[in-house]
């Protein structure tokens, strides 16, 4: 019989959002236990491994060995493969790194451990414990043995496939149009360009895109996201990705050395992320940017806020949902407006034809954008194809 455990803050899941939450809670004086159900933090990787970089200093992450490539820009390809290039000069700091996600996740867990966080592997939450409606910890299984971990604050950071949020009582269910099903190969002997992350739009990936993220010379992550509501048969993500690769000789000749799958939420922000004694963070809280599919930055930014609020709640002896509103206000203030705006843009982009995509990219030829956002792109398109922007008047 394993003894039950007690801690101030229990973090479920040791991905980036979990480790950031744990680190900042510990840094602010809380006793933190972070559990991870897998045997290795960061592995298997479930990510395209591209991320922006301007937010790293905000949350206290130092660049490390986990960076594979620092790209100069992004290239967006229309269905007829006309290119719109976004680089740092034309688009501010939106572009960034291609990373080794398992190394990144491990580094964040090390940072958390260095602040005093206890990290326990092979330990899965199987139930949320409640007392008079308040979350008081979780029942966990470790190497076949079940025991309780009790904590005044429990945090769900269990990723896209989150169950603890729903067990606790927060509805995190997704509409089919608010999820992309994704598949990626790491390929070698391909003609990718280490200076760019490439994105291919249109019917090649309904409701998503094909991405090429360079890992090294001749090595790249080649992946796809397809909106689940547009899926008609089984294994559709793989069929679309294989079809795209077959049509591109620079990739068709490549060899696959790795295969990664996953779900990505492309939903509006949740209405609620706190309960008495409980907070939800990162992909589990549907914080992924619905336009780009990127979740690391938002998870880390919200994680820092979540950790700080958790420590304050423990110190003040008030772990009620009312007190935890500080987290709700904090992450929403920082992220919500953009999440909602990008969800609206995604809703629109998922419906437009290849012909319209072609016109959008064509209209952007030679245009220098001061800042890359939906509004500025549409303004530029409006000058050349006013009839195209009619569909997007709500954004202008």
């Amino acid at each position: 019989m394993v003894q039950d455990l007690k801690t101030d803050v229990l973090v479920i899941g040791a991905g980036p959002a979990g480790s950031m939450t744990a680190k900042w809670a510990a840094k602010n004086g809380a006793k933190v236990l972070m559990i991870e159900k897998r045997q290795e933090i960061g592995s298997p990787v479930r990510c395209g491994e591209g991320m922006s970089k301007e937010w790293l200093t905000e949350v206290g992450i130092k660049p490390g060995k986990w960076i594979n490539v620092e790209v100069e820009g992004a290239r967006i390809y229309s269905p007829r493969e006309q290119v719109f290039e976004i680089n740092e000069k034309s688009a501010g700091n939106e572009v960034g790194y291609v990373v080794e996600r398992d190394g990144f996740d491990k580094q964040l867990a090390i940072d958390a451990a260095n602040e005093g966080v206890d990290v326990v592997l092979k330990t899965a939450a199987v139930e949320i414990l409640k007392d008079h409606g308040k979350v008081v910890g979780a029942k966990v299984k470790q190497s076949g043995q079940a025991f309780d971990i009790r904590a005044p604050i429990t945090i769900g950071a269990d990723g896209f496939e989150s169950q603890v949020g729903r067990w606790a009582g927060l509805p995190t269910n997704l509409a089919l149009r608010d999820m992309d099903t994704c598949l990626q190969y790491r390929m070698t002997n391909v003609e990718s360009d280490v200076r760019y992350c490439d994105f291919y739009l249109g019917k090649v990936a309904p409701g998503g895109y094909v991405w090429i993220f360079p890992k090294d010379e001749g090595v790249a992550n080649v992946g796809i996201g397809v909106q689940v509501s547009q899926v008609k048969t089984t294994a559709e993500a793989r069929k679309y990705l294989d079809a795209w690769i077959a049509k591109h000789p620079g990739y068709a000749k490549g060899k696959k050395i790795d295969m990664v799958g996953g779900g990505v939420s492309i939903s509006p922000p949740l209405k609620q992320t706190v309960l008495d004694g409980f907070m939800l963070v990162g992909d589990a809280a549907r914080m992924i940017d619905p336009l780009t599919g990127g979740g690391i930055a938002n998870g880390c930014i919200a994680g820092k806020i979540c950790g700080e609020v958790a420590a304050n709640a423990v110190h003040g002896g008030d772990t009620s949902a009312v007190f935890l509103q500080a987290y709700e206000r904090g992450w929403r203030g920082r992220l919500e407006e953009k999440l909602y705006r990008n969800w609206l843009a995604k809703e629109k982009l998922c419906t437009i034809s290849d012909e319209t995509f072609d016109k959008l990219i064509d209209a952007l030829q030679g245009v220098k954008l001061q800042k890359l956002n939906v509004h500025n792109i549409l303004k530029a398109v409006h000058e050349k194809y006013p009839e195209v922007t009619k569909e997007f008047e709500a954004f202008l």
Binding site: E161, W167, L176, T234
Partner: protein, 70 residues
């Protein structure tokens, strides 16, 4: 005809890449991922087949009996 709910649902151990896409989309929260193994709570599952659509590699199948390559 047996009712849909009496049909067996499983993820092929051969095809599944244990990515968790099905777990996240399941409207009844009745799919579990344990390291490299997907399991269904067949008492709760209504065989709505949303997970079948969400699976990027076509690993989930619903049929009269266990039939997939393991």
């Amino acid at each position: 005809m047996p009712s849909k709910k009496s049909l067996h649902i499983e993820a092929s151990g051969q095809l599944c890449i244990y990515c968790g896409a099905c777990v996240g989309i399941c409207p009844l929260n009745c799919i579990y991922l344990d390291e490299t193994r997907i399991t269904f709570d067949e008492n709760i599952c209504t065989r709505c087949e949303i997970c079948v659509k969400a699976c990027p590699v076509g690993a989930i199948e619903i049929g009269a009996a266990p039939s997939l390559p393991r």
